[in-house]
C-alpha cells in the first residue's frame, strides 16, 4: 500500500505519514503497550499537587517583601526582619505559634487515650448501647466540620456557659472532632490481632486486666503511636473548629492568622508560619512512622501498611 501511495505524484508527504499512522495504530492495538498517557497524567497530577506548596515554602525564604515573587534567599521572615514582623519576632505570631503547639499537645494527650479505650470497648462490647456509641463516633468522622463547629459554639454560649471561649473550648471541640481517628486506627489493628493472644495469656493464668496491659496493649503500640502522630498533625492544621471556639486574640493559633492575613497585606511571614506548621506536622508524622516501624518490626510494616493505618 505504501508503494502505491509513494508512486502517486504530488502527494509525497502522505507516503511519509502513512507508516507513522500505521505504527500508531499498531502501538494502539498492542495489548501490552505501556500506559504512557496514565503515567504522564499521574506525574502531572503530582507536580500540580506539590509544586504550589513548594513555591509557598520557597517564598518564606524570600529576602524581599513580596509573597508572589521570589527575589533572593534570606531568613528575614523567619527571625531577621528589621521591622520585627517576622515569625519569631512578631509578638502576635509568636503567641499564635505557642497556641498552635499547646492545642495540639493537649488535644493529642486527651483524644488518643480516650480513643484507644473507646476502640477497645466498641470492639469487644457486644451489647445494647455499643451500636449507638459506634454510630456517634462514625458520625463525628463524616460530619462536615462547620456543622460541628457551630454546634459547639452554641453549646458553649448557651448551655455549658462555665466553659470559656478560648483554649478550653477549643480543646473540647478538637477532641470531639479528633476522637474518631484513634478509634478507627486502633480498631483496624485490633481486628488484625484477633483475640488469641490475650486468651492465651489468660489460659496461662493472667487476670483480664493484666492480659490487656501486658499482652494486648504492647500489640497495639504501633496503632497508638500512629494515632498520636496523626492527631497531633491534624490538630496543627485545624482551623474551622478552632476559629469558632476562639476567644481573646491570644487564643488564635497560626492557622487562624494565616486565614485572616492571607488576602490582606500579607508578608512572607505568613508563608513562614505555614511552613513552620508543615515542618511540625512532618516531624510528627515521621516520628510516628519511625515508632510504627520500630514497634511492629518483624511484621510486614512498610509505608504501604502505615498508610493503610492512616
Amino acid at each position: 500500500m505504501s508503494e502505491t501511495v509513494a508512486t502517486r505524484a504530488g502527494m509525497p508527504e502522505l507516503a511519509a505519514t502513512q507508516p507513522v499512522a500505521r505504527g500508531f495504530r499498531r502501538w494502539w492495538k498492542d495489548p501490552w503497550r505501556k500506559p504512557r498517557f496514565l503515567e504522564a497524567l499521574t506525574w502531572a497530577y503530582l507536580a500540580w499537587s506539590i509544586v504550589p506548596v513548594a513555591i509557598a515554602v520557597l517564598l518564606s525564604f524570600n529576602a524581599g517583601r513580596s509573597n508572589t515573587t521570589f527575589q533572593t534567599f534570606g531568613l528575614r521572615w523567619w527571625f531577621d526582619d528589621p521591622d520585627g514582623e517576622s515569625l519569631f519576632q512578631d509578638e502576635a505570631l509568636r503567641t499564635a505559634l505557642t497556641q498552635t503547639l499547646k492545642l495540639s499537645v493537649i488535644t493529642m494527650l486527651i483524644a488518643v487515650p480516650l480513643g484507644v479505650s473507646f476502640a477497645l470497648g466498641l470492639d469487644r462490647w457486644r451489647g445494647r448501647g455499643s451500636g449507638p456509641a459506634n454510630f456517634l463516633m462514625l458520625l463525628t468522622f463524616v460530619l462536615p466540620e462547620i456543622i460541628l463547629g457551630v454546634a459547639m459554639l452554641l453549646v458553649v454560649r448557651f448551655l455549658l456557659t462555665f466553659v470559656h471561649l478560648g483554649t478550653t473550648a477549643q480543646v473540647l471541640g478538637l477532641v470531639t472532632f479528633q476522637i474518631s481517628y484513634p478509634v478507627i486506627i486502633v480498631r483496624a489493628r485490633l481486628l488484625s490481632i484477633g483475640k488469641e493472644y490475650e486468651e492465651a495469656a489468660m489460659d496461662l493464668g493472667a487476670p483480664p486486666r493484666q492480659a490487656i496491659r501486658r499482652v494486648l496493649l504492647p500489640l497495639l503500640y504501633p496503632a497508638i503511636f500512629a494515632s498520636f502522630a496523626i492527631v497531633f498533625a491534624d490538630t496543627i492544621d485545624n482551623f474551622v473548629t478552632v476559629r469558632y471556639l476562639s476567644g481573646p486574640a491570644s487564643s488564635e493559633p497560626l492557622s487562624l492568622k494565616i486565614y485572616t492575613v492571607a488576602r490582606g497585606a500579607a508578608t512572607p511571614a505568613v508563608n513562614a508560619a505555614a511552613t513552620f506548621m508543615l515542618g511540625s506536622s512532618t516531624v510528627a508524622i515521621a516520628l510516628g512512622y519511625i515508632a510504627y516501624r520500630y514497634l511492629s518490626r518483624g511484621q510486614r510494616a512498610g509505608v504501604q501498611e502505615f498508610t493503610a493505618q492512616v
Partner: protein
C-alpha cells in the same frame, strides 16, 4: 488474616471447657459483664456531652425565639418549639425574595463539577499507581499522601500566592502570550473556586480508590485478557464494575466537606458572586442577630447530608466487617 487465626487456635481441652461455659459466644467467658463496656464509657460520655448535647442546643436555637435585640433565645422544651425561624429561611429560599437560593444552587453546581473532576483525575491516578506503580510504588504513595499533612490553609495560601495579579500563573500565561493582561483570578471567579475545591479534596478521593484498586485480584484481569478482551474492554467490564462501591464512597467523602466549605471560597474568591452554603452559615454566625438563621441552615444542611453520610458509614462498616 484468617490463616493467622486458625494458626493460633487453642488446643481442644480448653475449647471444650469454654464451650460448656457458654456455647454461643466463646469470647465473653472470662471477662466480667461490665468489663468491656467500661472501656467505652469515657468516650461515650464525652460524645453525649459534647456531640449530642450541642445538637440539642442547635435545635433549641433553630426552633427557639429571639430577644429584643434579636439575640437568639434557645427554647429548651421541645413542646414549646416554634417554626418561625424555619419559615423565615424557607421564605428566603423559595419565596418571592429568595436571596439565599442562588448560593444553594451554586453550591450544588460547584460540588458536582468539583467531585466529577476529582473522580476522573483521581481514578486515573489511583489506577496507574495501583496497577503500574511497580518499584516506585512507595515513592508514589508518599507523594500521594503528602497533602494530608500539609495544612489545608497552606495549600490554599500557595494558590493565593500563585494567582495574584503579579503572581507566577499570570506571568507564565503572559510569557506564553495566552493572555494580553493579568487575569484577576482571585476576584470571584467560579473556576478558581472549583479548582480550589478539587485541589483541596482530591487526595481524599485518591487514597480510598487506591486502597480498593490495589486489592483487585490481578488474576481476574489476566483471565479477562486471556479470554480475548482488550485492555479497554477489560477495564470497562471488569475493573470499573468492581470498583463501583469505592467510587461511590469516594464521591461521598469528597462532596461532604465541600458542602460545608467556606474557607476555600473566602481565600480564593472572597466575593458574593461565588457564595456557597458554607459561607451563608459562616456569615450568619459572624453577624449579630442572625444566630437563629445559622442554626436553621445548619439543621437543613445536616438533614440534606444525612443520606450520603449514612451511606458512607454503612459502606465503611461493611468493609471493616468483611476483613
Amino acid at each position: 488474616m484468617s490463616e493467622a487465626r486458625t494458626d493460633v487456635e487453642p488446643p481442644t481441652p480448653i475449647d471444650r471447657r469454654r464451650s460448656k461455659a457458654e456455647p454461643s459466644d466463646r469470647s465473653g467467658v472470662r471477662y466480667p459483664r461490665w468489663f468491656w463496656p467500661s472501656f467505652a464509657v469515657p468516650g461515650t460520655v464525652w460524645l453525649l456531652v459534647l456531640f449530642v448535647l450541642p445538637f440539642y442546643v442547635i435545635l433549641s436555637v433553630a426552633f427557639g425565639t429571639v430577644d429584643l435585640f434579636r439575640n437568639p433565645l434557645p427554647v429548651w422544651q421541645p413542646w414549646y418549639w416554634t417554626t418561625a425561624h424555619f419559615q423565615d429561611v424557607f421564605g428566603k429560599l423559595f419565596g418571592s425574595n429568595a436571596f439565599l437560593r442562588p448560593a444553594v444552587i451554586r453550591t450544588f453546581l460547584y460540588v458536582a463539577v468539583a467531585s466529577a473532576i476529582c473522580l476522573v483525575v483521581g481514578y486515573a491516578v489511583a489506577y496507574y499507581v495501583s496497577r503500574f506503580g511497580g518499584r516506585r510504588k512507595t515513592l508514589l504513595l508518599v507523594l500521594l499522601i503528602s497533602p494530608f499533612w500539609i495544612s489545608y490553609l497552606m495549600r490554599m495560601l500557595a494558590w493565593v500566592n500563585l494567582l495574584q495579579d503579579e503572581g507566577y500563573v499570570n506571568r507564565l500565561l503572559q510569557f506564553l502570550n495566552l493572555i494580553p493582561e493579568p487575569v484577576h483570578w482571585l476576584e470571584g471567579k467560579p473556576m478558581t473556586v472549583i479548582l480550589g475545591l478539587v485541589y483541596g479534596y482530591i487526595p481524599y478521593m485518591i487514597l480510598p480508590l487506591y486502597g480498593f484498586l490495589d486489592r483487585i485480584d490481578p488474576d481476574l484481569l489476566q483471565a479477562s485478557r486471556d479470554l480475548g478482551a482488550s485492555p479497554v474492554r477489560t477495564f470497562l467490564r471488569v475493573t470499573l464494575p468492581l470498583s463501583r462501591p469505592a467510587i461511590l464512597a469516594g464521591l461521598v467523602i469528597v462532596s461532604l466537606p465541600m458542602f460545608g466549605d467556606y474557607y476555600t471560597n473566602n481565600m480564593l474568591s472572597n466575593s458574593p458572586r461565588t457564595t456557597m452554603i458554607g459561607n451563608l452559615i459562616d456569615d450568619a454566625v459572624g453577624s449579630p442577630g442572625q444566630g437563629p438563621q445559622a442554626a436553621v441552615i445548619v439543621v437543613l444542611l445536616m438533614i440534606m447530608l444525612m443520606v450520603p453520610m449514612l451511606y458512607y458509614m454503612r459502606s465503611t462498616q461493611k468493609a471493616s466487617g468483611a476483613v
